[in-house]
């Protein structure tokens, strides 16, 4: 391992790191919003929309991100929908993540026991108050482990972006190896930056999981 090479590669990895984090964060945010909306649609059995949402969840949970990205990035332009690579990455991640998040939220909503809503109604809350003050907070706490696992999973999946030529960490490593053939240094930096990105998420996720555990008393 040559330290000069590592020092000279470092700035390129920092750039790639921020790109990965940026698109990853946008994708995870998008996944969160899509997941919540879809989970509500399915949980409250909104006609037509609930069925469409269920089809979406099944489709995106049962196909790989790489295939989804290829379809969005190379397939859709043939129908006239041009999607720039960065948007495509964030959108693909958001759609994939949305289907996983929806499952997490939905099982959280399903696990809140009936006595909780009955209790809230008996106390004179309206249905809206019952949902926003009682059911949702508990359901959210119940879905936290799934959300943490999904966030880590989604951030790992960003490594696929190199396939649609986004200059992310994986792309940078491949590029540098192709140019200079310093495989060991390029991979060491690659692993280092993924640890920097994901270890904090994993640790913070673990702490959050422990913190919300006391809220789970409402589960069945």
């Amino acid at each position: 391992m040559n330290t000069d090479i590592i020092v000279s590669y470092f700035p390129r990895y920092v750039d790639a790191f921020w790109l990965t984090v940026r698109i990853g964060a946008i994708g995870v945010g998008l996944a969160f919003v899509i997941g919540l909306v879809v989970a509500f649609l399915i949980h409250f059995k909104i006609p037509v929309l609930a069925q469409l949402a269920a089809v979406y969840v099944e489709f995106f949970r049962n196909t790989p991100l790489l295939v989804q990205l290829f379809f969005i990035y190379f397939g859709l332009p043939k129908l006239g929908f041009m999607v720039p690579a960065e948007t495509c990455g964030a959108l693909g991640l958001g759609l994939l993540g949305g289907s996983y998040m929806a499952e997490g939220f939905r099982s959280g909503l399903g696990a809140v026991s009936k006595s909780q809503s009955e209790g809230a109604l008996a106390l004179g809350m309206t249905r809206g108050q019952m949902f926003f003050h009682v059911i949702f907070p508990e359901a959210f706490a119940l879905s936290v482990p799934a959300i943490v696992a999904n966030v880590i999973f989604l951030l790992k999946e960003t490594s696929v972006f190199s396939a649609i030529s986004l200059m992310d960490l994986m792309f940078t490593a491949k590029d540098l190896i192709g140019l200079y053939y310093n495989t060991t240094e390029a991979f060491a930096l690659l692993i280092f930056f993924y640890i920097i990105m994901l270890l904090p998420v994993s640790i913070v996720g673990g702490i959050v999981e422990k913190k919300v555990r006391y809220k789970m008393f409402g589960a069945q």
């Binding site: 099944e58 489709f59 949970r61 049962n62 196909t63 790989p64 991100l65 790489l66 295939v67 989804q68 290829f70 379809f71 190379f74 397939g75 859709l76 332009p77 043939k78 129908l79 880590i152 790992k156 999946e157 960003t158 490594s159 696929v160 190199s162 396939a163 994986m170 490593a173 491949k174 190896i177 495989t183 060991t184 991979f187 690659l190 692993i191 993924y194 640890i195 994901l198 270890l199 998420v201 994993s202």
Partner: protein
């Protein structure tokens, strides 16, 4: 739309062959993962500090490291660092087994932990010996908890093996690209049809397996 390209010559057949390449690698990796995962998961319930630390580091590393990175490191890195020359297929089986073993061992450990002590105590007090306790009481319950999750691991493995294209294995996506390239003139819109078909093929493979896993989970809930 580009779907007509699939009917030309042996294109559809080649696509399915490509899918089988990915499926074969995932099935081999899942089998290895389940065997090693059960062993490692059982070892992790022992209160040995060395096993505890080593397995914790292994699990956490695999948990946060993208499979794509592992794939590149094993395939390209091992050649340079260790002087080994392994085929792309063995590299992918090694990586996916490493990943699958970590996932599986965590599931096994969770399932073993979830059996309350009272189950062991009651079976001993009924006069069963250790072997009988495990064979008749513990293992059947663990299998019920494990099987839906292990089946789920198969679909996750199949989805993850789509990455092997990146280290040069000719699987379904690569075949798709080749077909698109070969028909660039006669069918300029082939990309849409081919990628939509691959999307659907993956769905048709994974969906029934997910449904089976969900069905078993519901059936054996208690």
């Amino acid at each position: 739309m580009g779907f007509e390209v699939l009917l030309k010559g042996t294109n559809m057949h080649r696509l399915l062959d490509g899918l089988w390449v990915a499926l074969r690698i995932s099935l081999i990796s899942v089998t290895i993962s389940i065997v090693l995962g059960v062993i490692l998961g059982s070892l992790m319930t022992l209160k040995n500090p060395v096993i505890k630390v080593v397995s914790k580091i292994y699990l956490e590393f695999i948990r946060i490291m993208p499979q794509m990175v592992l794939l590149f490191v094993v395939y390209f890195g091992s050649t340079k660092a260790l002087g080994l020359s392994i085929t792309a297929e063995s590299a992918s089986i090694i990586v996916f087994s490493l990943w699958g073993t970590a996932e599986m061992s965590d599931l096994v450990r969770g399932a073993l932990r979830s059996i309350p002590t009272i189950q062991y105590e009651s079976s001993y007090s009924l006069g069963l010996n250790t072997a009988q306790t495990y064979l008749y009481i513990i293992i059947p319950q663990i299998i019920r908890r494990m099987l839906p999750l292990s089946i789920n691991l198969i679909t996750r493995m199949i989805k993850t093996t789509s990455l092997i294209m990146m280290i040069g294995i000719v699987e379904v996506l690569k075949v798709g690209q080749q077909i698109i390239e070969a028909n660039r003139k006669s069918a300029p819109n082939a990309a849409f049809g081919i990628y939509a078909t691959i999307f659907l093929l993956y769905f048709l493979v994974c969906w029934p397996i997910s449904l089976l896993s969900k069905y078993l989970e519901k059936r054996w809930e208690n």
